[in-house]
Symmetry: C2
Subunit: 183 residues, 2 copies
């Protein structure tokens, strides 16, 4: 049922988007609702972990996931180096963890000192305690996309350790804020 009224779209200047284009895109893309997860890995005995909203289940057969990471970030380099990672899907009680691991300036030393976690069975990566679900993943491909890496991998282990309210109450990111689902 076509509405003949034209859209008031912003057309992007090509090939170089303007600062205004980018600012507008940041605002509009913030209205993409998503779950919130922690991606983690271990390199030479050291834990790396960061909050992400850019992750997806890609395929069931074989179970395949992807995560998008800023290519210049510490976590991207660590995940590339280790070749395996865990994704912990956060619940509504995890907002403090999400904030802490989203800060660009988090120190590596003591990164997880205040974050309750257990060790992933297959990869040894930190899995946030109380997560709705978690997946341990072995990378199978890394694609560059603009400033980011799309890291695709095969799930090698998975489970759920949610208890209490978290089990049905995922943490949601929308409009640059953390939100919860209506009951």
């Amino acid at each position: 049922m076509e509405n003949p009224e034209p859209l008031q779209s912003r057309l992007l200047t090509s090939p170089e988007p303007s600062d205004e284009d980018i600012a507008l895109y940041r605002g509009l893309s913030a209205d993409t609702a998503s779950g919130v997860a922690v991606v983690s890995t271990v390199v030479r005995g050291r834990d790396y972990a960061a909050t992400v909203s850019g992750f997806l289940s890609v395929s069931y057969d074989p179970p395949t996931m992807l995560v998008c990471l800023y290519a210049e970030s510490r976590i991207a380099e660590a995940v590339r180096t280790s070749g395996s990672w865990a994704l912990s899907l956060l619940g509504s009680t995890h907002q403090g963890v999400a904030n802490w691991l989203a800060s660009p300036g988090t120190p590596l030393e003591g990164l997880l000192a205040q974050v309750p976690y257990r060790r992933g069975t297959a990869t040894g990566a930190a899995v946030v305690d109380g997560s709705l679900t978690y997946f341990e993943v072995r990378s199978t491909a890394v694609h560059t996309a603009a400033t980011h890496l799309i890291i695709v991998g095969e799930v090698v282990a998975m489970g759920s350790i949610a208890s209490g309210i978290n089990a049905m109450d995922p943490l949601i990111h929308f409009g640059s804020a953390y939100r919860r689902l209506a009951r």
Copy 2:
């Protein structure tokens, strides 16, 4: 703060996951909360559109998005053929549209007869009326990942046509059901 209690993980049988592995993964990955969008394109004057929850904003500079589509689907073939697509982010009033365009058996003839839409300025693809935001995208890369394609593209136009409640009320997919955010 490591919890020494071991995780009760399911380890996947490699290289071929069992039917039980896949069934468990389907269940666990359903607890990934996400926004809901319609991906659409036009090939030889014909509209193609499908509901998706596998999409992401990848990068701000340049504005870049991705969508994951089952490789054997009609919509994947259409998006590959046309090279451009629109992504309409649905609001809570769009549940009927989401259900309709998620049905595998939707007829191509009359696909959008009951769906209010306008034409995208840059691509001509259908944009669902009342969407929180929409993006028109030109594909820049297609990656195969298991049964799916990861289609990455540059945003060429964007805007918002949400009105009333939809503006701050995204449709959410969680636990194999449509949900809304708590206020």
